[in-house]
Symmetry: C2
Subunit: 467 residues, 2 copies
């Protein structure tokens, strides 16, 4: 063995082609597999040996176990009948870019450690500023803001809470007095991000009849807190909540945030992708005055996890919080101030070449192709919503939002739970049973890569059959 135990380039060639074939076949059969894994707790572990192998195993054994051990424990998010949670859609160009990034094995922590990683990321995120109709000062090339890829919207939301916290503390506030705000329908990552950032006061602001944050209630909460000697610090508004897809009044929140000096973070984790379509942009009117904005290409833009985008209106406070320069990271480029070093833009130091997949997706589909598919998903959801409205035993619990439909059985919670259970008992469909307060409902999120009218028709037949 001239090169020890390593896989040689020729072996990589051969096994790589086997793996590509396995993935291609998976793409072909994912629509036929039962979507939800039915293993019981411990089933997968029971198939694994007690201890790590002492001796090398052949590649064929790894491939065999993909079918024998892994697949039974996979719930198939890429199935066309996937309507659960939010989509986590992927695509061929994105998957292959992940392979290239892994093969290059380059680190983008500093501009100098691989300039292409930093420059392509900054450039592609600048493209997206225009594609989503966001303001030019979010662009890294123009500033004072800029964009960066993070792992998840939870990370971005946590991070802006840290940055807003530090801004307040630099201004003389005590950390124990800081208050973070979001609606009662805000994603769990908002409260969690605030708590992890050390906020002990997190307010859940009332919503209106369509589950959108009430700006008047926000104002009142801020004034109450201020009167109590606390320091209102940051508010998150959602463009498309996870619960029902509610759209908070971003412009009104911007007014309140500006009036009271709060950091305003816009969480468009899922619905941000829809902003490629100009007719959807009115939903985020006011975001041009926000301090930060996050969205996940890994949800609804055919880019596999992980790929979250965070833009800030001003990168100075972000870098002030995160920058540090130990001697082993010093280099001429960083000291020239002609480059940005993304290690100063998030908690992790190391970073892989995630921009490659986003670049490849944007080029492979073109803006035209992306809009085509987003509009198709939105139209399918609208049609499903109309059918729900016309059905005597069903009702929507919220307006159809982008490509999300929330419905329930008119007979109440038990009938609604039974409806969800009947749909999920089918091997070719998956939806999420959920609740607002005590009211149960069924969440249907359209947006998986290969979901078409045929799949929505099958879902509708399952719904009406069970209702």
């Amino acid at each position: 063995m001239p090169d020890g135990f390593h896989m040689t380039p020729d072996e990589f060639r051969r096994h790589g082609q086997e793996v590509v074939e396995w993935v291609a076949e998976y793409m072909e059969r994912v629509g036929e597999l039962p979507i939800a894994s039915t293993v019981l707790p411990g089933d997968i572990r029971a198939r694994l040996p007690e201890a790590a192998p002492e001796e090398p195993e052949p590649f064929a054994a790894l491939l065999r176990d993909l079918d024998d051990v892994v697949l039974p424990g996979i719930t198939h998010w890429q199935a066309p009948g996937w309507f659960a949670y939010f989509p986590a859609n992927a695509s061929g160009p994105s998957i292959l870019a992940e392979l290239v990034a892994a093969g290059l094995g380059a680190q983008g922590m500093l501009w100098a450690t691989s300039p292409a990683l930093t420059e392509i990321e900054a450039h592609v995120l600048d493209w997206l500023v225009d594609l989503l109709g966001l303001p030019p000062h979010f662009k890294t090339a123009l500033g004072p803001g800029g964009g960066v890829i993070q792992m998840s919207a939870s990370d971005s939301t946590h991070l802006v809470h840290v940055v807003a916290r530090d801004r307040a503390v630099r201004g003389g506030a005590s950390i124990a007095d800081l208050v973070a705000y979001g609606s009662v329908q805000a994603h769990s990552s908002v409260e969690r991000g605030a708590r992890v950032a050390g906020f002990s006061h997190v307010r859940s602001v009332d919503v209106d009849g369509v589950y959108a944050l009430r700006a008047d209630a926000l104002s009142e909460a801020i004034e109450r807190d201020r009167a109590a000697g606390l320091v209102p610090t940051i508010v998150t508004s959602a463009v498309g909540t996870t619960g029902t897809g509610a759209v908070d009044p971003v412009a009104e929140v911007a007014d309140v945030a500006l009036e009271h000096g709060l950091w305003h973070h816009v969480d468009a984790a899922w619905a941000g992708s829809a902003m490629l379509c100009e007719e959807q942009r009115h939903h985020q009117a006011g975001a041009e005055r926000a301090d930060s904005y996050t969205f996940n290409p890994h949800k609804w833009l055919f880019t596999n996890f992980d790929c979250n985008v965070l833009w800030v209106a001003d990168r100075a406070p972000l870098i002030a919080t995160l920058s540090s320069l130990p001697p082993y990271l010093r280099n001429a480029a960083s000291e020239s101030s002609e480059v940005i070093d993304y290690r100063d833009w998030h908690v992790p130091l190391g970073r892989r070449f995630r921009a490659l997949k986003l670049w490849w997706v944007l080029r492979s589909y073109g803006a035209t192709g992306l809009r085509h598919h987003l509009r198709e998903h939105i139209a399918l959801a609208a049609e499903l919503g109309r059918r729900v409205d016309e059905h005597p035993r069903l009702e929507r619990v919220a307006p159809v939002s982008f490509a999300l439909v929330c419905l329930r059985h008119v007979d109440g919670d038990d009938a609604t739970d039974a409806l969800a259970a009947a749909i999920n008992a089918r091997p070719d469909l998956c939806v999420t049973p959920s609740a607002i307060g005590d009211m149960r409902f069924v969440r249907v999120a359209v947006g998986q890569t290969h979901t078409t009218a045929v799949d929505v028709k099958r879902l509708w037949e399952a719904i009406t059959g069970a209702a």
Copy 2:
């Protein structure tokens, strides 16, 4: 176009084979490419169009730009002449597992969203507890501790600071009074993690003559802070610092931490991999009494970024800090308490199938193969250290640590900087110029996947030629 703008499985097959071939050729030629990118700031961006493409581009254009746009901006971390920073080594099985994980596109946030992701991760990390000689209570299957994959050691270190902070606050302390400790040689992520977690007091404890934390100085600092009314909360000890590979006295730090009730975190980000070799484990004696331990398979275990492992001795405070259960994530498995949900173990909610590559690496090499390569790297570094000691114009600035050699020119800083510059002027070598205080030195980290005695010999000739 029957399926819109999507790449079909057959197109994926074809383009996948092209990409596998591109990566295989990259592996073959990476040793011939100039290691350090020589582009200037803005060069890569200048090659990209001003706006995102409206229309789809053919896959051939993406592949062509890998050579034309990307490669000139890549610094080749996978080159056998890479001795800079720490290694970020990768391997064929790991790269192909990343492809499979992207192709499956499954989410492991809950056990229920794909049980294989959670169970294989927990199981493989339990294997590693034994492989690294760590205590059985770190195993998820046994508890009360457990292991989880995170993105980076910075994330893990930040997270344990948050958990220790919350434990102290639950015990009645004020966040403003908490104190975090590490040595003056601790990685920048220790101070940064503490600051991001909201610590306003971070102490850099003195080191001894070999740059290891002085436990007596730690005790004194804790007693001084306690006398001042502050609350000593967490201490990080390093097994292999980034600066010089110094090994803190983990057992003594454990004594101090236990005596004063501090959380004790062990940062073995780089050197943890060496613990597969039993003869290295004395360096981490005492880690069995730590509250948490982190190491990066993505540094020195042939597993491409990202793959960081965090073990905690007790998972209860971790989950207490991070758990939340919005209605859309409720499910029978989570409520049964028979499973773990990794979303409660870190800041992000979503997570991809990173355990697959670790599983494939452990099986492809076997423990025997991994030990073979680790011992080879360690032996190469030891031999280089001996040569430095014998050379009249060179000296080591610290003991050879695992596979890290830190050396300087006896004529001082200018001669040392010139030495580093001469090495880095060569296209086939890369080292990191660094400093301790004002003393300049050259860091040589042996550990890239394909680095052999031939490469170290070439490096030595470059060193002696310049010295």
